[in-house]
């Protein structure tokens, strides 16, 4: 038995035999022809056929899996129409006399070469899209050039990478899951795998060579582990996991409309966090029950003039309207330790951040409070203050809010009188005085990233201390527990934010404490909901 490590690209476990899948493009042999004009006609015909297929696919995928997914194939439609791609095809036939299939391979190789040298992993992942298009054209030229070979039952497909259509094909052919040498969580193959509910592990890199055709593996799409030739004990543990109901039965697309409820009937809200207003479509698609955290720092990035009250008001209203009845919690602007701070500081994470930043910049604070109070007049909006370390700071923030309310009242401007006021428990100090804070707050947002960073003295953005940055550390969990208990005793909701919120291993801990909601990235909502629904 040997365990190799990759990236958890799509949740679930695939326990079966490795089946290597070769790219049809790489199997296309060099062939020269006498009549290039005929090959050009064949190519043009294949392009039309591929285009029609892609359009059908876009429509079908858009309906079944949502618009984000449709865009994956729309990009291929654009590539197909792109002048550079067509020119490369033409050159391969006219100048070099290649057959149509080999010209496709050649053009795909030329274009992938543009991306292969890039450092950026995301851009390198565009290789898969170009290859997909190539395979599509090959298929149009010769229907026998299948996208995928036959897969015996119980197969886990393996390849350097899979193209989007191959992933669709793997789902249709009943592959248990797939593993790849390259790729990432953001590659199109991974996005599709998550939507289709197929487990996947990506980026095995050099360990990929340890796999062998027909070998038994367990690909764990939750952790990124791939166990080769598992022993009896490991196999049994995973088999027990596989027998758990619900896992894998509901595809992510179905999960979008299902409630986040355990089998025992315990409900927990799954909310999404957003960085900037344009993230909202992701939330709407994700099936989240609202926005649990809108980090408003994006307003100040890349600009020297600050957004006006009306500008902010319009953004808040537009977000709330798109969310409808679902709640929107806005965190007042902090400045993030990872971006250049407004005033250069030695240790920005411990500097003028969060509520301190608001107190230092009373005009910005006031503008933001006015905008969000006005927007709260007829929308389901709450406000939360970050990096509060004492009850006095929270009282001071509330006084500022009260002051702005009075201002608006005297001006006759409508506003949300009863706007819920939350506090971020993202410092150990806040967790330790949580009982006092709970008396002054309407809800708690427990920021597990902040708690972990400050409790363990490990800078989140410093990769050298990332092994120390462990949100499962007992000290961190104890701070979380104290905060949730204080909220429970005061009768106010406790919401978990930060990376820990999306970790299925901590779900039972959080639910056991009685948290009301978990706030995660839009892309994690459905996986977390699946994990909740699989719980007793």
């Amino acid at each position: 038995m040997r365990t190799i490590k990759g990236i958890a690209a799509s949740a679930g476990v695939a326990f079966g035999s490795v089946r290597f899948v070769a790219s049809p493009l790489q199997m296309t042999a060099l062939e020269r022809v006498r009549d290039p004009d005929r090959e050009l006609v064949r190519l043009e015909w294949a392009r039309e056929a591929a285009k029609q297929k892609l359009e059908e696919l876009c429509a079908a995928v858009g309906k079944e899996l949502g618009p984000e997914c449709e865009k994956i194939f729309q990009i291929q439609l654009m590539m197909l129409d792109d002048g550079d791609f067509r020119a490369a095809l033409r050159r391969a036939v006219q100048d070099e006399g290649f057959s149509a299939p080999y010209a496709v391979r050649r053009a795909a190789e030329q274009l992938t070469a543009m991306f292969a040298g890039m450092e950026d992993a995301y851009m390198r992942a565009r290789l898969a899209d170009i290859q997909d298009l190539g395979i599509r054209l090959l298929h149009a030229l010769d229907p026998d050039a299948a996208v995928l070979p036959e897969l015996p039952a119980g197969s886990v497909a393996a390849a350097p990478f899979f193209t989007p259509s191959q992933v669709m094909g793997l789902a249709a052919k009943g592959a248990l899951g797939f593993v790849t040498r390259e790729g990432s969580r953001t590659s199109h193959a991974a996005i599709l795998a998550r939507l289709l509910g197929i487990p996947a592990v990506a980026a095995l890199s050099s360990s990929y060579s340890r796999l062998y055709d027909g070998g038994v593996i367990i690909a764990d799409g939750f952790t990124g582990d791939v166990v080769i030739d598992p022993d009896e004990k490991t196999s049994e543990a995973y088999r027990a996991f596989e027998r758990r109901p619900n896992i894998g039965e509901e595809t992510l697309a179905q999960l979008r409309t299902l409630p986040s409820r355990t089998r025992g009937g315990r409900s927990v809200k799954i909310l999404a966090k957003i960085w900037k207003p344009s993230d909202l479509p992701l939330v709407l698609e994700s099936g989240a029950e609202g926005v649990g955290l809108f980090r408003t720092e994006s307003f100040y990035r890349n600009r020297t003039d600050f957004p006006t009250e009306d500008e902010q008001y319009r953004i808040y209203c537009s977000l709330a309207e798109q969310l409808g009845e679902r709640p929107l919690t806005i965190r007042t602007a902090t400045h993030d330790g990872r971006v250049r701070s407004l005033a250069e500081e030695m240790n920005p994470a411990m500097g003028v951040r969060g509520i301190r930043f608001s107190f230092e910049n009373p005009e910005l604070f006031r503008t933001q409070l006015r905008a969000l109070l006005r927007a709260a007049a007829d929308h389901n909006i709450a406000v939360t203050f970050p990096m509060v370390t004492s009850a006095e700071e929270l009282r001071r923030a509330r006084r500022a809010l009260l002051h702005v309310k009075e201002e608006l009242k005297s001006e006759g401007v409508p506003f949300g009188e009863a706007i819920p006021v939350g506090v971020l428990i993202d410092t150990p100090a806040a967790a330790l005085v949580a009982e006092e804070l709970a008396r002054e707050a309407d809800f708690f947002d427990i920021g597990t990233n902040g708690l972990t960073q400050f409790a363990l003295a490990a800078d989140r953005s410093n990769p050298e201390v990332s092994p120390v940055f462990d949100f499962q550390h007992p000290a961190v969990l104890e701070l979380v527990r104290r905060a949730v208990l204080a909220a429970k005793n005061a009768g106010i909701p406790a919401v978990i934010c930060g990376d820990a919120a999306g970790d299925p291993r901590l779900l039972s801990y959080f639910l056991g404490l009685g948290v009301e909601a978990l706030v995660v990235a839009p892309s994690s909502v459905l996986e977390l909901r699946r994990a909740v629904r699989a719980m007793e």
Partner: protein
């Protein structure tokens, strides 16, 4: 000729889907649109060229719009950039 600066805020940079939408927006107008990042330039109507520019978070691109409808096309592009990044 009209130009504006545009700083990439998206975590993923100018990724494929957004590049596709940008090319679509450019193609909807009549102007010649060029993107310039450092010493490299790309014709914004060519998808592969735009993607190959590999614009990452925090990088600034100069957008140049040229043609009889440059006012209108430039406004449309600026709106696109505001909305998407």
């Amino acid at each position: 000729m009209k130009t504006f600066q545009w700083t990439m805020k998206d975590e993923l940079g100018l990724h494929a889907r957004v590049a596709g939408e940008l090319v679509k927006t450019v193609s909807a107008g009549t102007s010649r649109v060029t993107l310039e990042k450092g010493e490299r330039t790309a014709d914004a109507s060519r998808l592969f060229a735009v993607m190959a520019l590999c614009v990452k978070q925090g990088e600034t691109v100069t957008v140049t719009v040229e043609g009889p409808d440059e006012e209108k096309d430039c406004a449309a592009l600026q709106e696109f950039c505001e909305k998407n990044f």
